[in-house]
């Protein structure tokens, strides 16, 4: 098809640029030296602080809540929320996306919208250093100074129980059988694994410690089984649980496993993995049992995000490695009250879930406003976050879910937090289950509204 005269002219326009740009080969005088220091030690491209500045690192349920509610509590506080991601994807409800029940749009949200509605600054940047003496955060976009720093970076995976330091094995496990409890590529991997499954064992593991989203692996097992059943796939979900029993909503999940998925789920409690061969796709348990698998979502233990170590505020907890070394009532770093750590890096053993982080975030935000106003924080300024959490147990023909809600109370006798005012709805087979399914979606939508609108 010949070019028309008009078309030829358009092309010429671009060709002119091409011509001009082609002169480069001539130049040869680049400094070999890196200019990184110069670029990165300048301030990041955000407006100068117009008052006391709170910098929040990590725009998950915790960070987003805190940014919004600090501005609500005192609009004069300057708030900068940072995240390395260009888009938000929630871990909550992601099992429903992985099994095709909900579209990706449902869990994917817009940081800029949150910033527009919340009247704070969002900066897409990754932190690589924090100097708590000069109160400076170093990012790939430049530096940001803070008066108060909030670290809400969430979990990372701790593969050490399985890999004993073998980095290659860890990389292969992360790549081939991702846990899919940090939303993003992992979620899409899980989705394509389920969609392309041709039969055999599909292994789901449940880690020990206080892992993110206690019911998550059980919910996932139900939904994968539901998918196999619906699509007549000759597959079986093997649930390898490091714990002695289902860790939460046990009655509900057990009855779903037994009644709906007898032929599709094998639940294996107290199963500690000794070794994994990702090439032969074989797991050997502590007792020598060999388990072959056609595919898997291998969820290792969790730890605090590496950012805590970068900031020098990490400490192993009895449950997990490298969690935040904070006062459990004020969320302030021990020895540095200007730094708060929230969300899934907190060491208090609360449920690592979005609803907990969201309700906690409102409390922490109110306390940060008080702190910036000169008030000391203490046990007296503490109130309990709330854990409200729905888990799907089936999607076909109806979405059915069970739920739990609980507060936390501090027990002075044993110096521990324990659940308070807790309740469960573990019946899924009547109208409660269908209401639960509707509740699950509205619960998620409510959270998105609170974080982004």
């Amino acid at each position: 098809m010949a070019l028309s005269r008009r078309d030829a002219m358009r092309f010429t326009g671009l060709a002119a640029i091409t011509a001009a740009a082609s002169g480069y080969a001539k130049s040869d005088k680049t400094a070999a030296k890196s200019t990184a220091k110069g670029v990165l030690l300048s301030p990041a491209p955000i407006p100068a602080a117009k008052g006391q500045r709170v910098v929040i690192v990590g725009a998950g349920a915790s960070g987003l809540t805190i940014a919004k509610y600090i501005k609500k509590g005192n609009p004069k506080v300057d708030v900068v929320l940072m995240d390395k991601r260009s888009v938000f994807m929630s871990g909550f409800l992601s099992n429903l996306v992985a099994t095709g029940v909900l579209p990706l749009e449902f869990i994917t949200h817009d940081f800029l919208e949150a910033a527009r509605n919340g009247n704070y600054n969002f900066l897409q940047a990754t932190v690589h250093d924090i100097d708590r003496t000069s109160k400076t955060v170093f990012t790939n976009e430049g530096t940001v100074k803070y008066d108060v720093l909030v670290l809400a970076p969430g979990i990372d995976y701790d593969y050490s129980h399985w890999t004993k330091g073998d980095v290659e094995l860890e990389t292969v496990l992360r790549t081939k059988f991702p846990a899919a409890f940090i939303a993003g590529s992992e979620t899409l991997s899980l989705k394509s694994k389920i969609e392309n499954f041709e039969g055999g064992n599909f292994v789901v593991t449940v880690p020990g410690g206080n892992y993110r989203c206690l019911p998550g692996p059980y919910e996932r097992s139900c939904l994968i089984a539901d998918y196999f059943k619906k699509n007549k796939i000759n597959g079986k979900v093997l649930v390898l649980d490091e714990n002695a029993d289902i860790t939460i909503k046990a009655a509900g999940f057990h009855s779903a496993f037994d009644n709906m998925y007898k032929d599709y789920i094998t639940y294996m409690p107290s199963t500690t993995i000794d070794s994994i061969d990702p090439y032969k796709q074989k797991i050997v348990t502590e007792f020598g049992q060999e388990i072959e698998f056609a595919d898997a979502a291998l969820y290792p233990r969790v730890r605090g995000n590496k950012l805590l170590e970068i900031a020098g505020v990490a400490k192993d907890s009895p449950a997990n490695k490298a969690e935040a070394n904070i006062d459990p009532f004020t969320y302030q770093v021990i020895g540095d009250k200007n730094v708060f750590c929230t969300g899934d890096v907190r060491p208090m053993g609360f449920s690592k879930s979005a609803n907990t982080a969201n309700t906690e975030g409102k409390i922490v935000a109110a306390n940060i406003v008080k702190y910036l106003g000169g008030q000391e924080l203490s046990r007296k300024t503490w109130t309990s976050p709330l854990t409200v959490c729905f888990s799907a147990v089936s999607a076909t023909p109806d979405l059915r879910a069970i739920s739990v809600h609980a507060e936390y109370a501090y027990n002075d006798a044993n110096k521990a937090f324990a659940f308070a005012n807790a309740g469960m709805n573990e019946k899924w087979d009547g109208s409660e289950g269908i209401d639960g399914g509707k509740g699950l979606k509205e619960w998620g939508k409510g959270l998105y509204r609170d974080l982004f609108n």
Binding site: H405, K438, G439, R449
Partner: protein, 242 residues
């Protein structure tokens, strides 16, 4: 589909009855006017457009009407007992205000915004998670019933005390609808007391407004003259309550 049409008609055709507003006295606003906004009075009418009489409200039934905007749902409930009086309340930003009392012969009739201040859950033609739980029905949200519960995240509100927070994630009461009951037993909405979430609501549900009200502008229209009031089971297809 029917519910959607119903709402469209409600929003568009809310101009049926004319009454001299000066005949009706407000009696339920904060003493000092703080956190109180007067809107155009609207008479509560049934689906056929006939005035609803206060004495005709079923006991412990949640009725829904949209006020003060075409898209902002409120609930009116005839409680089994008289309400408390002069209840001291506090908004999430710390402002204090007073809810005076229920209305009607026995001070049993209350009305509140049905937009949960926690995360804006509210009745739609599809479903309703927020309603009064009758005394005989259990709820997961609180130790006893006879309260208002949002089953989305289990916030519990004291129906007889200005929707004061009892438990759950919500950090302020439901906004109250200030009602008048006229001498002829007709019911009138005259304003909103407390911290409403209307602006957040308008920001959050634009696709829903298009679906149910025909557009965003339509959803933001102020209700005028009358407000259609129906049982929650007629308003929403599914009622979800734990």
């Amino acid at each position: 589909m029917e519910r959607r049409n119903f709402l469209r008609i409600m929003a568009a055709g809310a101009t049926v009855i004319a009454v001299n507003p000066s005949l009706i006295r407000g009696n339920l606003y904060a003493a000092d006017g703080r956190l109180y906004t007067a809107y155009e009075k609207a008479q509560l009418v049934d689906a056929a457009g006939n005035p609803i009489k206060a004495s005709a409200l079923d006991s412990e039934m949640t009725y829904i009407f949209n006020y003060p905007y075409a898209s902002t749902p409120c609930m009116i409930i005839n409680l089994p007992e008289p309400t408390q009086q002069e209840v001291q309340l506090k908004s999430e930003s710390g402002e204090e205000y007073v809810w005076k009392s229920g209305v009607g012969k026995n001070r049993t009739i209350v009305a509140y915004s049905a937009i949960c201040p926690h995360q804006l859950t509210h009745p739609t033609p599809n479903d309703n998670f927020i309603q009064y739980v009758p005394k005989t029905k259990p709820t997961m949200a609180y130790d006893n019933s006879g309260i208002i519960v949002c089953s989305s995240h289990l916030s519990a509100y004291d129906a007889k005390a200005g929707a004061k927070n009892l438990r759950g994630a919500a950090t302020q009461p439901l906004a109250a609808v200030v009602l008048d009951v006229a001498a002829d037993d007709t019911i009138w909405a005259v304003g909103i007391l407390g911290s409403d979430k209307f602006q957040d609501y308008f920001k959050s549900f634009k696709p829903e407004f298009k679906e149910f009200y025909g557009g965003i502008a339509q959803a933001k229209q102020l209700v005028s003259i009358s407000a259609k009031t129906v049982k929650m089971t007629e308003y929403s297809k599914d009622i979800i309550q734990y």
